[in-house]
């Protein structure tokens, strides 16, 4: 009954957090008692779980009661519309993922990422390449070598066609001159099956999706597209170490309506920095292999703009959007 104890502890923490909130309000003087954090993810989805876990601790640091609200529909378009039409007074924020930029570029929603502004970044999810344990490939160089010799013998599996990992593989092909096919799937789960049954030679994804198979020794990691090696997997080399200059930034952060005042931005920048240091939250996100990557508002906005430019260029190059 270890787990139930954890639950009780969790509940107690939530209780303490809400009890402590009024005190914090006085300390930090946050102008709202309760703040909505919108996500386009469904309940139990990746971003939803992350936000709900974070608000347990973050409420305390912001000095307000944070509530997560799922606004689904239109691949984030509804959530963006809700944010863009809400007052920029610090009462409502948005949990960002690359989806909201992609939807802005792929469709013509009434409101786009340009109607929002970045507040802070929180995490970068490492994108990794994995193979079945008995795969002949030891590293990326071996994959490139085999693919150059016989392009049809190596098949790259990626999740969905508009996903960041498909872009990674397309860029990988462009950088290495490999012409092997890229097979898209309906999601990370389907891709994992394809890797396990040998339909594709390798897959690209996130560590959280592979935890069980990694532990059982059914798959192994070939490389990581991060700047540095991952703490939990010190033996897995980065792509850059293997001479392939690819670093992927799948971000998770906070955005809000355009024109948020300086004091609100400052309050959130401080709160996010503090929550990343919170030992309990740290234990959770380290178990999930999330890499904390704080960026303040100015830096984050520049990052988002740059990311959007890269996406736009990619979508045009591969005919996904018209010029």
């Amino acid at each position: 009954m270890k787990v139930s104890l954890k639950c009780i502890l969790g509940a107690a923490l939530v209780a303490t957090a809400s009890a402590a909130a009024p005190v914090a309000v006085q300390a930090q003087d946050y102008p709202h008692d309760s703040v909505t954090l919108v996500t386009h993810s469904r309940s139990g989805g990746g971003t939803d779980v992350f936000l709900r876990e974070m608000v347990k601790y973050l409420s305390n640091y912001v000095g307000a009661n944070l509530v997560v609200e799922n606004v689904r529909g239109g691949s984030g378009a509804k959530a963006m519309a809700k944010l863009a039409t809400s007052p920029a007074d610090g009462s409502i924020f948005y949990g960002t993922t690359p989806t909201f930029i992609n939807t802005s570029l792929l469709a013509e929603p009434d409101y786009t990422y340009k109607d929002l502004m970045g507040v802070t970044n929180v995490f970068l999810d490492p994108q990794i390449v994995y193979v079945r344990s008995d795969s002949p490939y030891a590293d990326l160089s071996a994959v490139v070598e085999a693919a150059l010799a016989d392009p049809g013998s190596v098949i790259f599996g990626v999740t969905t066609p508009g996903s960041l990992d498909r872009q990674v593989m397309e860029k990988f092909k462009a950088l290495t001159g490999v012409t092997s096919p890229i097979v898209t799937h309906d999601g990370g789960g389907e891709l994992l099956i394809s890797v396990l049954n040998g339909t594709v030679s390798l897959g690209i994804g996130e560590i959280q999706e592979l935890t069980a198979q990694l532990e059982a020794g059914e798959v192994r990691l070939l490389t990581t597209y991060t700047l540095d090696r991952l703490e939990d997997f010190p033996d897995v080399p980065t792509a850059r170490e293997q001479g392939i200059d690819l670093v992927i930034n799948k971000f998770r952060g906070i955005a809000g309506p355009s024109g948020l005042p300086e004091d609100i931005l400052g309050a959130w920048e401080n709160a996010i920095q503090s929550v990343l240091e919170d030992s309990e939250f740290k234990a959770w996100y380290e178990a999930q292999s999330l890499v904390p990557f704080y960026m303040g508002s100015a830096e984050y906005n520049a990052f988002l703009e740059d990311f959007a430019m890269q996406q736009q260029a990619f979508f045009k190059e591969y005919g996904i959007v018209d010029d």
Binding site: V49, G73, L196, Q213
Partner: protein, 500 residues
């Protein structure tokens, strides 16, 4: 023995049994409301499970799934409004029976078949998880493609009367399935810049439109008919003779549900429609299908309730959710720090057997709760027609609106309803349309993936043994139904000749 010990202690020392019953009740209610899919019903409960023990929490969610898969058939039969995607197959013959005043009987058949399907699914989950888990591994893109072709091959035999109309409806269904993001290249197709269309047109909107809205339009255009004869006001459980007749369709349904549940991406609606098709193919009375056949209810209901059990196979053994509903279950497991996958069975046997025993309670209580809940439901649909129709309109539109809180969906349902109305006037069958819609994505995506894998070689479809087997079966059925039609028409001609 150890397993029984775990199961017993889960039932006696945790509130798992209460969670099972509560989940089924909540599931039936959510499933019965059009637009509230099983996954939404489960998602609404998810926050409440945060503070519960893991076993009752997951039993609660899984039981909700069981209840919702059954609940969807209640409005499907009574008001031709499928409460869930999977119940659309039940709506076809269920509503025909309801029109004939046999609604109570239809509900009884659906309940019994659902419970039998659920128990078969659970049995297979418990006994066969290991071998079943490998089903997903044998299915490669060519096999998925051929599975879709087998499903769609039935259009030939379903369009009795007019093959051309059947094919036209099927093609329209396939066309609707192409809306949204291209499965391979990612290009947006036929979305005209509308973000609502990026994810494609949801099945439930088309189904509710063509089945329910078109029926309301037809009803509204008719003067109120005197209720003919006395209507059944209570559920009627099938007799022994009927149960014997239903055994075959139920087994067909469960068999299909067994495999569809184990494969990611297939899910309840494809299983239900394939079960309908196959039950018709193997029935002694295929001519009754579409006109109120009890077998046509038994097969899809057994199928979608079997899926509610076997869908847990890939979720528990790989950690791969095959549908939205199992994705929420997965979320529930992760919240409690349980990582599904190959090691879950070794590390947490108490959890696994607790879940199984909870599901057993859920399926058994489904039977009792189904009987209890049906009487008020039948009473409700026997209210005066103007009230009833206004109420159904409100129910459908509020349900659809609640999916994504967007008016766009309401317009789509109205459009689909209007199209369905016109199809009925012109005598087009619905089933091929729905089949095309449900299977279109599966067929297209896997056809193109297969060709990507082989660099454009079509040989792969006959080289993959599973794919070859499925394609040959499809061919056999098409030729068989062609021959049967030929023989029937010859017979009719001979009869006509001999009369003259």
């Amino acid at each position: 023995m150890e397993a029984i010990g775990y199961a017993w202690s889960a039932l006696t020392t945790t509130p798992a049994a209460f969670a099972a019953v509560g989940g089924v009740v909540w599931g039936i209610l959510g499933g019965a409301l059009p637009g509230i899919s099983p996954s939404i019903t489960m998602a609404l409960l998810l926050p409440f499970t945060y503070t519960m023990d893991p076993i009752p929490a997951i039993v609660l969610l899984a039981s909700t799934y069981v209840g919702a898969e059954y609940g969807g058939s209640i409005p499907a039969i009574l008001i031709r409004t499928p409460g869930t995607n999977a119940a659309a197959a039940t709506a076809i013959d269920g509503y025909e029976l309801q029109k004939q005043g046999r609604g109570g009987e239809a509900l009884g058949i659906s309940l019994v078949s659902g419970v039998i399907g659920g128990l078969i699914g659970l049995f297979c989950l418990v006994i066969l998880t290991k071998p079943l888990a490998s089903v997903a591994l044998y299915f490669t893109p060519p096999a998925y493609f051929s599975l879709g072709v087998l499903g769609i091959s039935v259009i030939a035999s379903l369009s009795s009367g007019s093959l051309i109309k059947g094919l036209m409806a099927g093609i329209v269904g396939l066309m609707i399935a192409t809306v949204g993001v291209d499965p391979v290249s990612g290009v947006s197709r036929f979305t005209y810049g509308a973000p609502e269309l990026l994810g494609g047109i949801p099945f439930i909107l088309v189904m509710v439109g063509v089945f329910a809205v078109s029926e309301l339009l037809v009803q509204a255009s008719r003067p109120e008919a005197k209720t003919s004869g006395k209507r059944q006001l209570t559920i009627r459980l099938p007799s022994w003779a009927m149960l014997r007749r239903l055994r075959k369709p139920q087994l067909i349904g469960s068999g299909i549900g067994l495999f569809e549940g184990c494969m990611p991406g297939a899910g309840g609606s494809i299983a239900a429609f394939m079960a309908y098709n196959e039950a018709r193919r193997w029935s002694k009375h295929p001519e009754e299908f579409g006109k109120g056949s009890p077998e046509a209810i038994a097969a899809p209901e057994a199928a979608n309730n079997t899926v509610a059990g076997t869908a847990l196979v890939p979720m528990l053994s790989f950690g791969i959710p095959g549908s939205n509903s199992t994705a929420i279950l997965l979320g529930g497991l992760l919240i409690h720090g349980l990582q599904p996958g190959p090691l879950l069975f070794q590390r947490h046997p108490d959890f696994i057997y607790g879940l199984y025993s909870g599901l057993l309670v859920a399926n058994l209580s489904l039977f009792a709760l189904g009987i209890l809940i049906i009487t008020p439901a039948v009473w409700l649909v026997n209210r005066p027609r103007p009230f009833l129709m206004a109420g159904i309109f409100a129910l459908i539109f509020s349900g659809i609106y609640s999916i994504d809180n967007t008016l766009f969906d309401l317009y789509l349902v109205l459009l689909a309803g209007l199209a369905g109305y016109i199809m009925r006037l012109l005598g087009f069958p619905f089933l091929p349309l729905v089949l095309g819609l449900v299977l279109g994505y599966l067929i297209e995506a896997n056809y193109r993936r297969s060709l990507l894998l082989t660099g454009g070689e079509h040989r792969v479809f006959i080289e993959d043994p599973i794919s070859l087997g499925l394609l040959l079966t499809a061919l056999l059925f098409v030729v068989g139904s062609g021959l049967r039609d030929l023989r029937d028409s010859r017979k009719r001609m001979r009869e006509r000749d001999s009369k003259n």
